[in-house]
Every structure is written in C-alpha cells, then in structure tokens.
C-alpha cells in the first residue's frame, strides 16, 4: 500500500528544502508541471528564504566572552567533569549570601546597640543593612587605598591583605571595642592609613579564614567564590557594621564609587539599577537575580533607613555611564512616583508632607556639614591618588540640570545666570536627591513647562565632600544619630566597586 502523501503545499516546502523522498519528489515534479499555482508557491518559498537569510545577524556584545569566562572562573572547582547547573548554584550562593547578610544586619543592630550608646537609644543611622552581592575577582585592583607602603601589590598579596582586614574586624567585634576604622567624633577627620591594622600572625589569619588563604600559591588556589566571601567578611558571630564594611571596602580596593540616594521606592530603584547595569554590560558579581534583591528589600522594609550595597565589575567608562543613567533615571522615576503619590492628597496635606519629610533631612544634613576636616599627611596622599582617579572620570558623571530631569529630556548646558551644577570634585560620586531637588521637581510639576521663578530655584545638591568619600560616608554613618530620612523617603547607598583601570 502506498503511504498517503502530505498536503501538496507541504511537499513544495519540503522540496524547497531538499527534504523529499523519491516518491514525494516524483509527485512534486508532476504537481509543478501541471499547476501554475504550485510553481508560484514554490517561488514564494524561495523568496521567503532569501528574505529571511538576508535579515541582519546581530553580533555578540564584546563583553560576552569575558562574562562567560568570569562565570567559569567562579565554578572552576566544578569544571567539565561535573555537570552543574550554573544558575542554580548562583541562586544557592545568592540566597545564602542574602540570608547571611540579613544575619549580619540583625547581628549588627543588636551588637551595635551595646557598642554605641547613640545607636542604643534609637538614633542609629543604619538599623538594618542589606548586602546584596559581593565582589571578588582576579582582576581586583592591586593598589590598596590608605596603605602607602603597599602600593602595587599583586593580586595574590591583595587577597592576603584582605584576610588581615577581616581578622581585624573580627578582633574588634570580639573585644567590643570601637573599630579603628571609625573616626574620632571630635576630630571628624578620617585617617585612613591608621585604619590599616598590623598584620596578624599567619596562624591567626588561617584560623579565621578556615582555609589556607595566605601566601601566593595558596591564594592562587582560592576559588572565585572563596575570594568573594573572604572579601565581604560575613561572619554572623561578629558581623561588621556598615561603617566597618565601607571602610573595609575602601581599604582593600581603591576603585570604589558610591552613589547615595534618598528615594521613595527602594525596590524599584534597585530594579532600575540592575536594568541600567545590564544595559551597560556591567557585571553584578554573583549575579544575584532581581527577585533576591526585591526579597531582601522587602525583608528589610520594617527598619528605616536601610542600605543596599551592590558590588559590580565595570570599567571606568561603563561605570560612569551607569552612574549617569542611574542618577537621572532614578530621579525621573522618583519624581514621577512622588508626584503620583502627592497628587492624590489635598494641597495642604501635600505641603505638610513635604515639610515633614524634608525637615528632618535638613536637620540631619547640618550634622554632617563641616564635620570633616581636610586630610593631612597620609590622608593627603590618599586624596592625591584619588584626585588622580578623578582626572580619569568622564565628564558624564556631572549632574544634569534639575529642570531637565523633571522633563525627562537630555541634559543641557546650565542657563546663564543660574547656579552652575556641582561638578564631581572627588574620586567617586555622592549624590543626594535632596529636599531642594524634590522641591524643585514638585514645583516644576505644578508650573508645567513654564520656567520656575528665580527665587523659587532651590540650591542644588551641595558638592561632594572633599574628604575621602567612603570613609567620610562611614564617619557620617556612624555619627548621624537620627540622620535617617523621615517619612517614606529612604536612603539607599549603592557601592560600586571597580577593577583598576588598565
């Protein structure tokens, strides 16, 4: 019995692909000889193929190969012989990291209440910290901030030093003493070099790490994840505070940028940040998925304020672009969110709400103003190096005019007669979406496209502090009793850690 042939059109399609049996081919030849419609159909199939094969083939992004090798580096211990679903592994790692971070947060809060009276009475700035991801890469910067005698350390030595800092933090927690990385409240200045502890005995370092992490050969043998864990120093028994963490990051890597924001919607801001990072090809080391961040944010939602630290790998150009986008995009989103919320309440309530929200922020800022003295000595050397880094910072880091932020348009030159925007004058960028910015955005929303009267133009965010950014932040964080933004405004501190520029 002859098998039933498929539909003639299907045979034509298969004929075009050269996928016919002998019987089918004979049938198609008969069909083409008899039917002009069949011939037309076959011609159409050929033309379709031409069209499809002429479609553009996008090239893979230049970052793809590097990001793949980076991921492989993290799983070197589970290389070819062991089939291991990579994503699941990261999820596990990320989940445990977030869990550990929450433990850190709780532990920090409980522990700090005893260490610092200003925290015990509820004036602590960071009541709960959420560390989202850690960074750890073989391309870590070799230059160690605040350690003049250790410039140019190779990566392996660098990791050895990280264990020193880790041990130091742990020792401090054990003795319940104020960490050396925290500045004296009276001086206000941060003496970064003094924060580098002396090298502890080798045995102590090994004991703390629980594995051989000292010496070039041993450090080289460390896996990517081990390095990352070592750098973050998550130890639930003796967790570092935010100030410790920031100071630690500063000590072990001189390539960190901080973006500080006060936002209404932390969750959305974190998502925006991830999107912007991905758009720019910036790797969030650890690849913690957005859901984990959202969950961490939700977990921490009861405590005000909070800190979100995200550690990434990026070149100067990538990071500059992300920071630029982050500040503008989030500003736009925040303005929209805030306007939408405020639009639902009567005008008087709105004004009162703005006053209430911003009043406490103004108070908190005053505590920080002028509290930090110019660095001297070794700190001056540290600043000099940072100034060198500034010169490599693209100009795109400067903030766009507020009016353009509100309109969502591209930044333009500052109009004549108005106060020029503060340019980034230090290594790193610290940006606050301050009360003045919000006021202007709200006011701009009210007046629409008309230009705001000069007397309503609020001062723009003040320029960044001229002192070392991270240690300055740590200092302020430690001493800002009651410095948390009030109401639904929350402070978010993104910590971007970069590799040393080539």
């Amino acid at each position: 019995m002859t098998p039933e042939l498929p539909h003639p059109d299907e045979l034509l399609s298969a004929s075009h692909d050269g996928e016919l049996s002998e019987t089918e081919r004979a049938a198609v030849e008969r069909l083409l000889a008899e039917s002009p419609a069949a011939r037309e159909m076959l011609d159409d199939f050929r033309e379709l193929s031409t069209l499809l094969q002429s479609l553009p083939r996008p090239l893979a992004p230049a970052t793809l190969c590097r990001s793949i090798l980076l991921r492989l580096e993290t799983s070197r211990s589970s290389a070819p012989p062991v089939p291991l679903p990579r994503r699941r592994s990261w999820l596990r790692w990320g989940a445990s990291l977030v869990a550990a971070a929450l433990l850190v947060a709780v532990g920090t809060w409980l522990g700090r209440r005893g260490e610092h009276p200003e925290l015990a009475d509820g004036r602590g700035l960071f009541e709960r910290d959420v560390v989202i991801a850690t960074n750890g890469t073989a391309t870590a910067p070799a230059e160690v901030s605040g350690s003049p005698g250790r410039e140019g350390l190779p990566v392996d030595r660098f990791w050895g030093d990280s264990s020193i800092a880790a041990t130091r933090l742990r020792q401090e927690a054990r003795t319940e003493s104020v960490p050396a990385s925290e500045p004296s409240p009276s001086s206000g200045a941060v003496d970064a070099p003094a924060a580098i502890p002396p090298s502890p005995p080798r045995e102590e370092r090994e004991g703390f790490r629980g594995r051989g992490a000292v010496g070039d050969a041993r450090s080289r043998a460390l896996s990517f994840e081990e390095r990352a864990a070592a750098r973050l120093v998550i130890d639930p028994q003796s967790p570092p505070s935010v100030a410790d963490l920031l100071a630690y990051v500063d000590r072990v890597a001189d390539q960190t940028v901080i973006v500080e924001m006060e936002v209404v919607d932390v969750d959305r801001t974190a998502e925006d940040m991830l999107v912007l990072l991905r758009r720019r090809g910036v790797q969030v080391v650890g690849e913690i998925p957005a859901e984990a961040i959202a969950q961490a944010v939700r977990e921490a939602a009861e405590a005000e304020p909070m800190l979100v630290g995200v550690y990434v790998e990026a070149t100067d150009q990538q990071l500059a672009a992300v920071v630029d986008e982050l500040t503008t995009q989030v500003a736009i989103n925040e303005a929209a969110t805030r306007r939408a919320e405020l639009a639902q309440t009567p005008l008087d309530d709105r004004l009162q709400k703005i006053e209430r929200d911003y009043g406490s922020q103004r108070q908190s800022r005053k505590l920080g103003d002028g509290a930090l003295a110019p660095p001297t000595g070794d700190a001056g050397e540290l600043q000099r190096r940072r100034q060198m880094a500034i010169s490599q910072t693209p100009q795109s880091l400067s903030l766009p005019p507020v009016g353009h932020l509100a309109a969502g348009a591209a930044p333009a030159a500052t109009p004549a007669g108005k106060e020029p925007l503060p340019a980034p004058t230090e290594w790193g960028v610290k940006m606050n979406l301050s009360e003045s910015l919000y006021r202007q955005l709200d006011r701009q929303a009210e007046v629409g496209d008309r230009e705001l009267p000069q007397d309503e133009m609020q001062p723009l965010p003040r320029p960044p502090s001229p002192v070392p950014a991270i240690l300055g932040q740590a200092s302020l964080a430690a001493r800002h009793g009651g410095g948390a933004p009030a109401g639904d405004v929350r402070r978010v501190l993104f910590v971007f850690q970069r590799p040393k520029p080539e």
Partner: protein, 190 residues
C-alpha cells in the same frame, strides 16, 4: 567537527579554562545572532547565550565528538532558551521594539543569498522581522533553525525534540503564515 575545535576541547578537558574562550569567540556571534531571532530580544539572547556556553563548558565531557560542536552547542542553547522562556513567563518581544540592547547595532554578516535581489530595503526588513516575531514560538523556532541556521530536518528534529514529520509540517505552516502576513502587510502599504 574541526580539528581546531577538538584541540580546544581537549585543552579545556585538560583543565585549561581559558581555552574555552577560543570556542566562545568562534561561535558566539553565530549563536547570539540566531538567538536574537529565536527569542526576539537582544537581552534575552545575551542571557541565554551566556547560559549556553557555561552549560556547555560544564558538560563538555558529555560531548562525544560524533557531531559538529556547534550542533551540540545549539541543542544546549535551545534547551536553555526554552527554560529561559519558562522563567520569564512572557512572550518574546520584537527585536526592533527592544531598545535596551547592550550590544552593537545589528550587522548583516552574510552576503545576500541571491545577489540579483540586492540589499533589502530597511522597510522590507522591518516587515519581515515583524512578521517573524509574530509567528508562534513553535513555528518561529523551526523556521529560524532552517533558514538562519541551515539545519536539515533531522537535526532540527533532534534539537526541538519532535519527529521529522512534525518539523516538516511546522516549517511549511510557518512559511505559509509568514507569506500571508507579508502579503497582507505589503497590500496594506500599497
């Protein structure tokens, strides 16, 4: 499989992770370019391509070398794409509507199949891409594998995990649907 591929694979299996970079560089553009059309999104394609290469590395010992490395790689990519779609739980976006691409602008790497037709006009290219993106996932997948990857039916069947007859039927229906969509679009333009 080329001798170069085999040499790189051997080095990977000997513990040289960096050798895998050679395989990535060799196939990343081809794989990514196909995934973009398969998934309809450059960002999704990037995620899946990365996942694919990592999985390939981790399962390199299971590659027996009796088929082309790229065919084996693409099977992993297809499975990764299916898993990715499940995770995403939303339909693929059109390429030209996706503005969050971190990669460069699309570049036609292939010469036109028929030199007499010349280069496609931008408008026609857009029409074809739109129509392709509107196809159902099953149809789009087999058509992309056939037309862009040039795989034979047997290999397509192995990739998508269905009988050859189903592949043939799907390709035919995909062509019919695509043809009708393009005819409608051209008529409405006229």
């Amino acid at each position: 499989m080329t001798a170069d591929d085999q040499a790189l694979i051997d080095r990977c299996l000997a513990g040289e992770t960096d050798a895998f970079g050679g395989l990535v560089v060799r196939y990343q553009d081809r794989l990514y370019g196909t995934l973009v059309h398969l998934l309809g999104s450059t960002q999704d394609a990037l995620d899946v391509a990365q996942e694919t290469f990592v999985l390939a590395f981790q399962n390199l010992r299971s590659f027996r070398g009796d088929a082309a490395f790229y065919s084996w790689l693409f099977r992993i990519a297809y499975n990764a794409a299916v898993s990715y779609r499940r995770r995403q739980r939303f339909p693929g976006r059109r390429v030209e509507h996706n503005h969050d691409s971190p990669g460069p602008e699309p570049v036609d790497q292939r010469p036109a199949a028929d030199p007499t037709t010349g280069l496609l006009s931008e408008e026609r290219r857009r029409l074809v891409q739109d129509a392709l993106a509107e196809l159902s996932e099953d149809y789009r997948t087999v058509l992309v594998l056939k037309e862009l990857e040039g795989l034979p039916y047997e290999e397509i069947a192995a990739v998508v995990g269905c009988p050859i007859g189903t592949v043939r039927s799907r390709i035919h229906r995909a062509r019919q649907e695509l043809r009708e969509k393009l005819l409608r679009a051209l008529q409405s333009e006229a």
